[in-house]
């Protein structure tokens, strides 16, 4: 009986829902689509989504309860060989308690034969596979048959969810360009949803006399991979939905909320506020240490280091601790949130007023503070405010010290979860990555060199260098210099254990300088790992994110042998961005047989908007030309 009802509703749904634009029906294709050679609004693309349409309806079904039922339809044109893989499709769903299911998968591919006739090949049912990954994830996968360059294929399926409150985010944009993307939502009028859109293109205007609401975008270029990009989440064009209220004749509820309400609810939540109250066993080692420490800062540091070293992050996010902090503590393994709840708990046990802090990491996208919904966040950190000092801590990060804001949440907005002192805060800081380098090298009569260098890495630079050091890649990094061959003979690293001090790296080195005929060349930019110019693309779509300001200072001395004379020194130079956000300076002096150089590069801004790209690109072009300049020596 259940089944008949369902099918009946499904049929009526299909009959009533009409798309706003007349799309070719399933199985019908215009020959012109098979003759497309390139995408006109994103030339060179490997494939083009001709249309991507979702139609969703939420309604009540007797015996089944509230259901949302979606029919998705996708049609794709293959333009290049690398695009053929698009015809291997994987659809994800949530299988637990049969809350979701994917059914009615059908597909067709269209090709032109040698006579220009359209050939259709259908996807067979038995070539559609349903596989379980684990309790909470499953996927339906299939490969469309007979797909090659020039093929158009399409597929459609039904995705049912047992829910009235969840409308998945609709992404207009994809890795490949999309010609037409449309979502239709049909919901009973007493469910009130608010929407949030991320768009750079204009959505189609509403048309009346249509069932439900349509969201339509056209000619959307594919996503791009760009260096120093904060991730696609702030950029991918989409519409997000959130249930804000129910207003039916028999039932009323307002889900519209404030941050204050959200905080209260979180504190009462079993998997959030109450989860932090659970006691942890086996911390006697920490308790013994803390007993001897009087200062708050030192206590915070000690607890942080204790959790940081004892817990292994399992790479997962999420703002709740579903399995609880006791389980994570026993396994010494958990999500970011599990680990930071443990940190909050142990800080509180040590008499420190620590609070959980909800954040959205940069690759998850920035939050809208006027939109008090939790789905904007992806994990919890620990927060301590003591007088003027604040500490934002992520003990899942093995390298960041307790007194630096983790780089992946720096300058973002976050929510302190606390009834009296909670609310939105901005995670701002003046901290930067600083590398200070001193080197002294002697050159012998044959152009062989020997010398020492001392590098000090502070702030965020310390984390990066510590990571290289622990994974035994520091030597390799120091040997990678352009314009000179340097071999690291000895390497000593100091202050490893004390994250409050700069990481000192002392290097004994030997090697050879480059030459051509009687000319010898010396670089002055050593050990900065500046590598190659990252900004070579002609234009840019996403904002530039350097994570934090960076400063390099290289002070060097070259001691020359008798038989070499200085032929040319690079000019003393200063280059400044118009807004003074980047300053480069180079001073080269020659005194007797010693050449002294001092190079500084100060990247004072942590990022730039995409429209300032032409300036950044030009500055970096000049910068790398300057870095390539050499001191020129000549053999007497």
């Amino acid at each position: 009986m259940k089944r008949t009802v369902l099918i009946f509703f499904l049929l009526s749904f299909l009959l009533t829902a009409k798309t706003q634009d007349k799309l070719p029906s399933f199985g019908k294709i215009d020959k012109a689509d098979l003759e497309i050679k390139d995408c006109d609004f994103d030339p060179g693309a490997e494939a083009l989504v001709l249309f991507d349409v979702g139609e969703m309806e939420i309604r009540y079904v007797e015996n089944l309860g509230w259901l949302s039922e979606s029919i998705y339809r996708v049609r794709i044109k293959i333009l290049k060989a690398s695009g053929v893989d698009r015809a291997q499709v994987t659809l994800h769903y949530y299988p637990k308690n049969r809350l979701e299911e994917i059914t009615n998968v059908t597909g067709i591919s269209y090709n032109l034969d040698e006579n220009g006739k359209i050939v259709e090949t259908k996807l067979e049912n038995r070539s559609v596979f349903d596989k379980t990954i684990d309790n909470e994830s499953a996927e339906v996968s299939f490969a469309l048959p007979n797909v090659k360059v020039g093929t158009v294929f399409e597929y459609k399926y039904r995705h049912q969810r047992k829910s009235y409150s969840y409308i998945p985010t609709w992404y207009f944009q994809a890795k490949i360009p999309v010609k037409y993307s449309a979502l239709n939502i049909v919901i009973p009028e007493y469910f009130l949803f608010s929407t949030q859109t991320t768009l750079r293109q204009k959505m189609d205007d509403e048309k009346k006399n249509e069932t439900g609401k349509w969201y339509i975008l056209r000619n959307i270029p594919g996503l791009k991979d760009e260096p120093y990009s904060a991730g696609t989440r702030d950029y991918i064009q989409r519409v997000e939905f959130k249930l804000t209220g129910i207003n039916s004749p028999t039932y009323n509820e307002d889900f519209r909320t404030t941050w204050a309400k959200v905080i209260t609810e979180l504190q009462e939540d079993e998997d959030f506020g109450k989860a932090i109250k659970k006691n942890l066993k086996g911390t006697s080692e920490l308790d013994a240490k803390l007993a001897l420490i009087p200062s708050t800062e030192e206590k915070v540091r000690t607890v942080y280091k204790y959790v940081q070293s004892n817990m292994q992050w399992n790479e997962s996010y999420g703002i709740y601790s579903f399995k609880g902090i006791k389980d994570a503590w026993d396994k010494k393994n958990g999500s970011i949130t599990d680990i930071n709840f443990i940190l909050v708990k142990l800080l509180q046990d040590a008499g420190i007023d620590a609070k959980p802090l909800l954040v959205s990491t940069k690759d998850h996208g920035s939050i809208n503070t006027f939109y008090p919904f939790l789905n904007q966040f992806n994990c919890a950190l620990a927060y301590v405010k003591k007088g003027e000092k604040t500490y934002v801590m992520n003990a899942a990060d093995k390298y960041n010290p307790f007194n630096l804001i983790p780089y992946d949440v720096l300058y973002t907005s976050a929510l302190v979860v606390d009834k009296s002192e909670g609310g939105i805060i901005k995670l701002d800081s003046d901290d930067k990555a600083e590398n200070t380098i001193f080197f002294t090298c002697s050159v012998d009569a044959d152009g062989k060199l020997s010398g020492q260098a001392t590098m000090n890495s502070l702030g965020y630079a310390r984390n990066v260098r510590m990571h290289l050091h622990n994974t035994a890649r520091l030597k390799e990094a120091f040997e990678d210099n352009s314009g000179v061959n340097i071999k690291v003979d000895s390497l000593a690293v100091n202050n490893e254990k004390d994250e409050m001090l700069p990481l000192e790296q002392k290097v004994g080195l030997s090697g050879g300088i480059q030459s051509s005929g009687d000319y010898y060349f010396l670089p002055y930019n050593l050990f900065t790992s500046l590598g190659k110019n990252p900004f070579i693309a002609e234009d840019r779509v996403t904002d530039i994110d350097f994570n934090y300001p960076k400063k390099y200072t290289v002070t060097g001395s070259w001691i020359l042998p008798e038989n070499f004379s200085v032929n040319e020194l690079p000019k003393n130079t200063k280059m400044i961005m118009p807004d003074t956000s980047i300053v480069l300076s180079r001073i080269v002096q020659h005194d007797g047989n010693i050449i002294s150089t001092r190079f500084t590069l100060d990247l004072r801004a942590s990022g730039y908007s995409a429209d300032s790209y032409p300036y950044i690109k030009e500055f970096f072009r000049q910068l790398y030309l300057i870095l390539d300049e050499r001191i020129v020596l000549k053999k007497k």
Binding site: S82, Q88, T121, E124, P145, N310, N333, Y519, N567
Partner: protein
């Protein structure tokens, strides 16, 4: 009397316990075992029990002390289960530096996921990562794997690089029927063999092995790691009975799996016969069909049936126009059969550095399938999963190795072609028209065959224009131009041609007063990683042998005079060759450099490493030379 016995047992147990405690403490490791080691195998007991051709189990007990962060991989427990192996009863214990037990994790606390790169799940993976609050740290793994069918048996990796071994035992207990075979690789450590009724017991034991270093580009681990391989005599997989004591018998078994998978419907046979009606030789026919396959079929990973060993029938591929390596090879075999060309499936190990197939030890070394059409001269080899390889070329993924050809008379071990540097040729012709301000217009023409071509077709050809420019600058490392236009062969031609037209505001690298320094080339002609070693222990492996030709011509306008140009260079070794000549033409104001680089051998013997390093050093000296021009 009974009392005394109990006492004795008790004492024994206690002494055992005392002796065991040491094993868990990092403090008791002798210094000799810490040198060059990231991890120390403290105590290892691996047992393989083979009951019959359908039933076996692997029992592992392992205690490992991890000394530093580079040894972190030893803290990850990862085991795969599928239809033929099932992980059973796993447990992990963690001990601190003093050997105090800190944690125990049972199998149910580990994460389990289904996995599979293709359309269908291939099995289940169970994993757990142990946290290291500090190093050193000791972990203990205890687990059992049940085998259904002994088609592939576990081996014994005696010692990995950067790892020392304090004590390790490998024991194989097997019923005399079916019995097993073993093979020692990179070791002479013979087992102690005992017999117990109808059981044979093989026992390997080793103590205090000091760590050895891994040098870069040492090839496959199987070329240097001491290992014991086990191979079945008789085996069963699903319901298929087999015998692996000879290549012939192993091939017979594979033949059995392929039974009823070949053969095309009659209309399809006619279709292919019509396609090749103007072709005369087997080679011509095969080329037409291979090209048709490349343009119409595609690779999709779909591992189903008999442990991923049995292909989908040819009719399936005919319908769907896709398949995995076996299905596509088997399909082309069927199509060739229809036009009267006899081809054989070759089961092979794919990869750049394959494990050696030992002729006297038949076993399943393989993970891939290709096709072979035996000819009196120039046997034809076909990689059916590639849409870009030229007809009858294999490339370094399957060249230079032994593989098993499946013939009507069973398996035969064959050698795939040896890579030749002539096949992998890249030529670059660059003309640089320098202007009075030190800028330039550049026209570069790159012509590629073999591996270089295949790489560009896979990673470059289908990119958008801006991504192609980026690839040229970041991957091929061309000097970054200010204006850049790139075009390629319209089709996937062989050779493949790329034409780059570039403009530079400043083409020289730097100046000294009025003297300008120009690079002999705008990209690195040689960029192999060949580090200096005091004494190289193992052979050095290039990806493939190759040659590169470069001609770079600078055309200078009036106002430039030649100050110095590099001397001609020639470096010759038995395995490699480099020459570069520079000429200045006063009349046309043109400076030309012509370079030739040949890496003739893929594998350089450890004894020749000094010569290889010297080769690199000398080539780099020339590559770093500058052309010095004076501006008047």
């Amino acid at each position: 009397m009974k009392k005394i016995l109990t006492f004795l047992i008790l004492v024994l147990a206690v002494t055992n316990a005392v002796a065991q405690i040491n094993i868990y403490s990092a403090l008791s490791i002798p210094d000799s075992l810490k040198k060059d080691a990231d991890a120390v195998v403290r105590d290892e007991y691996i047992k393989v029990l083979v009951k019959d051709k359908n039933t076996a189990r692997l029992e592992v007990h392992e205690v490992i002390t991890v000394l530093n962060e580079q040894g972190k991989k030893y803290l990850s427990f990862v085991q795969f289960s599928d239809k033929f192996h099932v992980l059973d009863d796993a447990e992990i214990k963690v001990y601190d530096i003093l050997g105090n037990k800190k944690n125990t994790y049972a199998q149910k606390e580990m994460t389990s996921l289904n996995y599979g790169e293709g359309l269908v799940p291939e099995g289940k993976v169970t994993y757990f990562n142990v946290n290291a609050p500090a190093f050193p740290l000791t972990v203990e793994f205890n687990y059992t794997i049940k085998y259904r069918g002994i088609f592939s048996l576990p081996g014994y990796d005696m010692q990995s690089p950067w790892q020392s071994v304090q004590h390790s035992v490998f024991e194989v207990e097997v019923s005399s029927d079916p019995g097993v075979r073993y093979k020692l690789v990179n070791t002479n450590n013979q087992p102690v063999i005992t017999h117990d009724g109808n059981k044979d017991i093989y026992h390997w034991e080793q103590k205090n092995l000091i760590a050895y270093k891994l040098e870069k580009h040492s090839g496959s681990p199987y070329s240097y790691e001491p290992t014991v391989f086990l191979g079945p005599n008789k085996f069963q997989l699903d319901d298929y009975d087999g015998d692996m004591t000879s290549w012939k018998n192993f091939g017979d078994w594979i033949n059995n799996l392929y039974l009823k998978t070949t053969g095309l419907p009659d209309d399809k046979k006619l279709f292919y016969q019509a396609m090749v009606k103007n072709a005369v030789t087997d080679r011509e026919k095969a080329e037409i069909l291979y090209s048709y396959m490349q343009n119409n079929m595609r690779y999709v990973s779909i591992q189903l049936g008999i442990g991923g060993l049995r292909p989908f029938p040819a009719s399936f591929v005919d319908d769907k126009k896709y398949g995995d390596c076996k299905a596509l090879s088997n399909y082309l075999k069927s199509a060739l059969d229809a036009v009267g060309v006899k081809a054989s499936i070759v089961i092979i190990q794919g990869g750049m550095n394959p494990r050696n197939v030992l002729e006297d030890f038949p076993a399943n070394y393989f993970n891939h399938a290709i096709l072979c059409i035996p000819q009196l001269k120039d046997t034809i080899w076909l990689e059916c999963t590639s849409t870009t390889l030229p007809f009858a070329e294999l490339g370094p993924f399957t060249e230079n190795r032994k593989a098993m050809m499946v013939t009507d008379n069973g398996g035969v071990l064959v050698n795939t072609p040896v890579s030749n540097y002539n096949t992998n040729t890249e030529s670059v012709n660059t003309v640089i028209e320098v202007n009075a301000d030190g800028g330039a217009k550049v026209n570069a023409l790159c012509t590629l065959k073999g591996e270089g071509r295949d790489n560009l077709l896979m990673r470059f050809h289908d990119l958008k224009d801006d991504e192609k420019r980026k690839y040229f600058i970041t991957e091929k490392e061309w000097k970054q131009p200010d204006i850049f236009d790139i075009s390629t062969s319209p089709n996937k031609n062989n050779p493949y041609v790329v034409n780059a037209k570039m403009e530079y505001e400043k083409i020289y690298s730097f100046n000294a007063g009025s003297k300008l320094f120009f690079e002999p080339r705008l990209y690195p002609i040689f960029d192999e990683e060949i580090p200096e070693y005091e004494k190289r222990m193992r052979d050095y492996y290039f990806t493939c042998p190759y040659q590169a030709f470069d001609t770079t011509v600078y055309k200078f306008p009036a106002g430039y005079a030649l100050e110095t140009m590099p001397k001609n260079k020639s470096v010759s070794k038995p395995f490699a060759q480099y020459t570069c000549t520079y000429t200045w033409d006063v009349n046309t104001h043109t400076l030309s450099s012509v370079a030739l680089l040949q890496i003739k051998e893929r594998v350089i013997k450890a004894a020749d490493y000094t010569a290889l390093y010297d080769f690199k050093k000398q080539v780099m000296e020339d590559v770093n030379e500058k052309i010095v021009m004076k501006k008047e």
